[in-house]
């Protein structure tokens, strides 16, 4: 569906910016793209969710999957999420304890 992703490299991190609605229709597509990044050895990932208009449980699940995959390869995952509407979903599912949310990209790529 209407999902667009941009990939860039910043300060040793691979940043995937996601734009559009991240729901059960579009999450499989994002999942594939994240699997591809990890397969290319890009295991220090930042997912920037500030362009996401809607997030559902499969979107959250896709992020859990990415976290598992980068960790398996000794990497790490960080999230950029300054929209409270979206951050709220991580909070109520407790997932903000597994992947901390940063409110800016700068903060996400800072500190190693």
């Amino acid at each position: 569906m209407q999902l667009r992703t941009d990939v860039s490299e910043i300060a040793g991190w691979t940043v995937m910016s996601v734009f559009g609605e991240l729901d059960v229709a579009s999450s499989p597509d994002l999942r594939e793209r994240l699997i591809d990044l990890v397969a290319e050895g890009r295991t220090r990932l930042v997912i920037d969710l500030d362009g996401v208009d809607f997030l559902d449980s499969t979107g959250l699940g896709t992020i859990v999957g990415a976290l598992k995959r980068v960790r398996t390869h000794g990497g790490d995952l960080r999230l950029v999420c300054s929209q409270s509407r979206i951050a709220r979903l991580f909070e109520i599912t407790g997932l903000d304890k597994a992947v901390p949310l940063q409110s800016t990209l700068d903060a996400a790529v800072a500190g190693g």
Partner: protein, 142 residues
């Protein structure tokens, strides 16, 4: 009481349209319901519809899923009606807490927990030919 009903193909590509209609219907019928509560309801409805659509895959893929917005004085209820095989909501696997490393084994199973948190009331009704999920948000409560 005002009722707006939408019948829509059982494909996930239509979820976006369902959200848009719920948004517009509730905004038109229940202008009092604040933006954040409407957002919550929309996510809960989207989750219920995703499950309903999933339940139609296979035998009932050609049957529409029905979304009914019922606006009353004090509350808004959205019913999601499917003709799938049904399930027992009390027998779902519980997810480990987010701080448990085993949590990462589960990429799914967050839909119903989200519905339960986001809506004020969630009722799963087994019907003669499927499941009806009723999601209610009260207008005054937060």
């Amino acid at each position: 009481m005002a009722v707006v009903e939408l019948a829509i193909p059982a494909r996930s590509a239509y979820l976006s349209l369902i959200r848009l209609v719920v948004d517009a219907a509730v905004a038109a019928l229940a202008p009092g319901l604040g933006g954040a509560r409407l957002d919550d309801l929309k996510i809960a409805v989207s989750e219920a519809c995703a499950n309903a659509i999933e339940a139609h895959q296979g035998t009932y893929v050609e049957e529409p899923v029905v979304v009914r917005c019922i606006v009353e004085e004090e509350r808004v209820t959205v019913e999601v009606v499917d003709r799938g095989a049904g399930f027992d909501p009390d027998r779902l696997e519980r997810l480990p807490p987010a701080t448990d490393p085993r949590r990462l084994r589960h990429e799914s199973g967050l839909g119903i927990p989200l519905m339960r948190t986001l809506a004020d009331e969630v009722a799963f009704r087994r019907t003669l030919d499927g499941t009806t999920v009723a999601l209610t948000v009260y207008r005054a409560r937060s």
